[in-house]
């Protein structure tokens, strides 16, 4: 296959995985106002769960059950959800800034765990030989099939989140974000809704982690760094439009284009600067974040755009019904 075409397939696959992450964060932050800056923890837990469930047994560590891939994906969602449930239970009544620092702590503990519990995770050496979906299709068609898998899952996640957002469930979440006391005074159990949003978002993050691991074929504790896994996702959501489901997806594709474009740019640097490329790109992420907040803090597609869309749709439905 043409190099450009195969790059396009790669690009769409990774951007699609990021779009799933961005949608997951949109449930937590965009809708509910839960400040999770430990996304990497749930992604890593999901990735490792799926990998350990599906790789062939190994002599060096206990993980490796050789189960089929779908089991891995479901397992990833369940483990991330369980982790989120317990984290949520203790931290979700905290103010946004306390939750933020608590999620950083969780990310740190997950990193330490993956690194130190060698019996389970093979420690810093990581786990290779991760089964790739559609490997039987061969070098040419496997990436295409994988891309389609990512896109199908993205569509399913998008559909489910969008339907939940429009339903009374989403209305309660947005209300909690706006004013918790009002929601309490309206007889809703705020904490239960928060917990649902946090667990749902984290389960989806776990799914994205599993997808990524099987796409790349290798996991190690170092592969999950906060910069690419947490902060990049934040920039995507905020740039795309926090609270706007389409914006979350759009932001993921645009920011991933900029991010991977910056790699081409840094590849052109003189060799003595190449080691600094990572640092430059980190600065770029920070700069993007600040610039979006300063000049377009609603994002490309704002939540109010979405509201107008919702109203128009309701009016159409009313006409049809009436």
């Amino acid at each position: 296959m043409d190099a450009l075409l195969s790059y396009a397939v790669f690009f769409v696959s990774i951007a699609g995985i990021y779009a799933i992450l961005s949608l997951a964060l949109n449930v937590q932050w965009g809708l509910t106002g839960l400040f999770n800056i430990g996304i990497v923890a749930f992604v890593a837990v999901g990735a490792y769960t799926s990998v350990l469930l599906t790789v062939e047994p190994s002599a060096t560590f206990d993980g490796g059950l050789g189960l089929p891939l779908p089991v891995g994906f479901v397992g990833a969602m369940v483990t991330s959800a369980v982790l989120a449930f317990f984290v949520g239970l203790i931290t979700l009544n905290l103010r946004a800034d306390y939750l933020a620092i608590a999620t950083i702590g969780i990310a740190e503990i997950v990193r330490l765990f993956l690194k130190n519990e060698e019996w389970l995770t093979n420690g810093v050496r990581g786990v290779g030989g991760v089964p790739r979906p559609f490997a039987e299709l061969g070098q040419v068609w496997m990436p295409v099939a994988q891309m389609l898998l990512v896109l199908v899952l993205l569509a399913v996640v998008f559909f489910l989140i969008e339907r939940a957002r429009r339903a009374p469930w989403g209305r309660v979440l947005r209300a909690i974000r706006e004013n918790e006391l009002t929601v309490l005074a309206s007889g809703k159990t705020v904490k239960a809704f928060r917990l649902q949003a946090f667990v749902l978002g984290s389960a989806i993050m776990g799914l994205a982690g599993a997808l990524w691991a099987h796409f790349v074929g290798f996991v190690s504790p170092e592969a999950f760094e906060p910069l690419q896994t947490t902060f990049l996702v934040w920039v995507m959501l905020i740039a795309g439009g926090s609270g706007n489901t389409k914006g979350a997806v759009l932001g993921a594709f645009i920011i991933w284009a900029i991010w991977s474009g910056s790699q081409f740019a840094t590849d052109l640097l003189p060799p003595e600067m190449v080691t600094q490329a990572g640092a430059l790109r980190m600065g770029l992420i920070g700069l993007l974040l600040v610039l979006v907040l300063l000049f377009r803090n609603e994002g490309l597609l704002s939540e109010s755009d979405q509201r107008r869309g919702d109203l128009a749709r309701e009016a159409r439905e009313e006409r049809r019904a009436g």
Partner: protein, 253 residues
Amino acid sequence: MIKVENIVKRFGGLTAVDGCTLEVPAGSITAVIGPNGAGKTTLFSIIAGFLKPNEGRVLMDGEDITGMSPPQLFRKGLVRTFQIPHELPRMTVLENLMLVPEAQSGERLLSAWLSPGRVRREEREIRARAEEVLAFLSLYELRHELAGRLSGGQKKLLELGRTMMTEPRVVLLDEPAAGVNRTLLGKLTAAIRQLNEERGYTFVVIEHDMDMIAELCHPVIVMAQGKVLAEGSMDEIRRDPEVLEAYLGGAHA
């Protein structure tokens, strides 16, 4: 209906409510008045479950409801409004009201995903009810406006509207008239009386507008420095020297 017994609430060194005991008769529109800092709003927050008292208890129909959470009390038919309007600023006026009704099946994720038809039917009903309430409060034209853009008086009406989205038994209104213009005020007073007479809601009202209280409320309970100072009809209260002292003393301090 509601009985408050020896409630004490301290914030650090400050005692906001200091052994308050009072009773709200069923079917009444009871006023709670008193100078600023008398502990009225704190008492409301305790009754509605937003604050826990240091001492004392709150009874509703003889049942001890002290320390129950606001959602629990809501389900028992006790709702409150806030003195400073607590609207949901980036949501529409309609959404502000549609949030309220309880047991919406669309609030459960699985129903939201799996039975959209049922959710849509319920939504239509809730919406019709919300539009009715908005029409009643003269806010119908603003139903798609963001609640944050309403005027102070309109936000007050929205607070009241929220209590009308359920079938409450006791409504605690914290200064419903403040910032509401005269025309709306007449409407508000009429609404409260109508809800009281026709649907049997019991009201407890914190208010500074004495005309409104005189017109609407009986009995009137006067609080000062965290305690109940006097109780009776508005005329009795007006003649009570202790009450005058509390108000004037408060004004001089």
